[in-house]
Amino acid sequence: MSRVEDSLVVCDQCGLAHRWGPVGPGAVARCTRCDAVLGRGHRLSIGSILALTVAAGAAYLVAINASLLTITLRGGADDATLPEAIGVAWQGGQKLVAVVAALTALVAPAAFIFFRLYVLIPLAANRKPPGFATCVRILHQAGRWNMVEVFTVGVLLALVRLAALAEATPGPGLLALGVMTVLFASIESAGLKHLWWHVR
């Protein structure tokens, strides 16, 4: 068999193998050759990640349904939600831009939450869900393409630029995006590979 042992960790960035050793809480182990992070001493439990993911799911539902910003011009108000904004870009002939925006701000965050829930709920009950390996790979891609934090700043920028033209107010969707940004960062800090440590 080609399996070496669970006591080795290989640096993602430079490929150097290291032996696992104990690391205190809050400490960070770095690659001795390229200084990339190998592992962290503090990890969230499966239960905590699950709780954060459920909260992120609730924030996501608000973020895509509620208005992100509203402008009032001569008595008439106009607002925009995320799916609407993507629809307008699609109808305006910017189909590729619409696809990229939908992928990075709508689909990837949804996959990020959905597949984590699918994996974490059985893991919390000490069971391995069917298709676990595929789900971890999908989660890796979802994490790469997810750009909720950039989109949140984009909404803020749009708000400031519109405020120069008309009365512009932030909507509840923007707050939900802010909450999602923070939750996603905490969930991602837990990493993906460690999910395998809970499968026995």
Binding site: V10, C34, R161
Partner: protein, 219 residues
């Protein structure tokens, strides 16, 4: 789960699984694209170095550099009002923000839309070039540059979102309408291509003792 490492192990034939992290012995000798080794735990394909990493990186970097021209010369934003028709390029929009007195915003948009894409194209070009022609040159700095563009890469998408949101909000306005211009398509393509270029490059190439095609690293 507090596990992490302290000592390096001299094991050049060990591959770490990208997906689950399990260390496996490399069973494929030499460059054999026809042989595929999979992780015994999760089934992910294992490579000592990603196949065709340099070629793929160059393809995406060159395409991104070419599209960077229309992304900057064509308008990304078209405003129409009863009085005037305005076309705004990326740099023009930043200039207007600066003139309006929104210096902080102008700097943020400049970093996201101009500095980050240029940095990514330049750094990836440099990394792909040095792997072959200067393999031993400043390895630590090159590794750090790669990690930097991996982290900041997302942020160039900022202006794409801003234009999409402006166009969606100012729709049936009596005063004005805002539409995305053709430059935005080119710019979005630049952003996606630089992301793909970043992910196709393999930072393990920086640490190879031998450069591909037999060039010996000198230090």
């Amino acid at each position: 789960m507090s596990r992490a490492s302290n000592d390096a192990v001299p094991a050049p034939d060990v591959i770490g699984c990208e997906s689950c992290g399990l260390a496996s012995l490399n069973l494929v000798e030499g460059e054999r694209p026809d042989l595929v080794q999979r992780c015994p735990r999760c089934g992910h394909v294992l490579h000592l170095v990603k196949p065709f990493a340099i070629q793929r990186t160059w393809a995406c970097v060159v395409a991104a550099a070419i599209l960077y021209v229309p992304a900057n010369t064509l308008p990304v934003l078209v405003t129409t009002s009863a009085l005037q028709h305005g076309e705004h390029t990326l740099l023009g929009g930043i200039h207007e923000l600066w003139l309006d007195g929104s210096w902080a915003l102008a700097v943020i948009v400049f970093i996201a839309s101009i500095a980050v894409p240029v940095l990514k194209i330049g750094v990836l070009g440099l990394l792909a070039w040095t792997v072959r022609y200067a393999p031993a040159w400043r390895r630590h700095e090159r590794a750090r540059l790669y990690r930097l563009i991996e982290v900041v890469g997302h942020w160039s998408m900022l202006d794409v979102y801003v234009v999409v949101l402006l166009a969606a909000t100012v729709r049936y306005g009596a005063l004005a309408s805002v539409d995305a211009g053709d430059g935005l398509l080119a710019f979005a393509a630049v952003v996606v291509l630089t992301l793909l270029a970043t992910w196709s490059f393999d930072p393990r190439l920086i640490w190879q003792e031998f450069a591909p095609h037999g060039r010996r690293a000198s230090a």
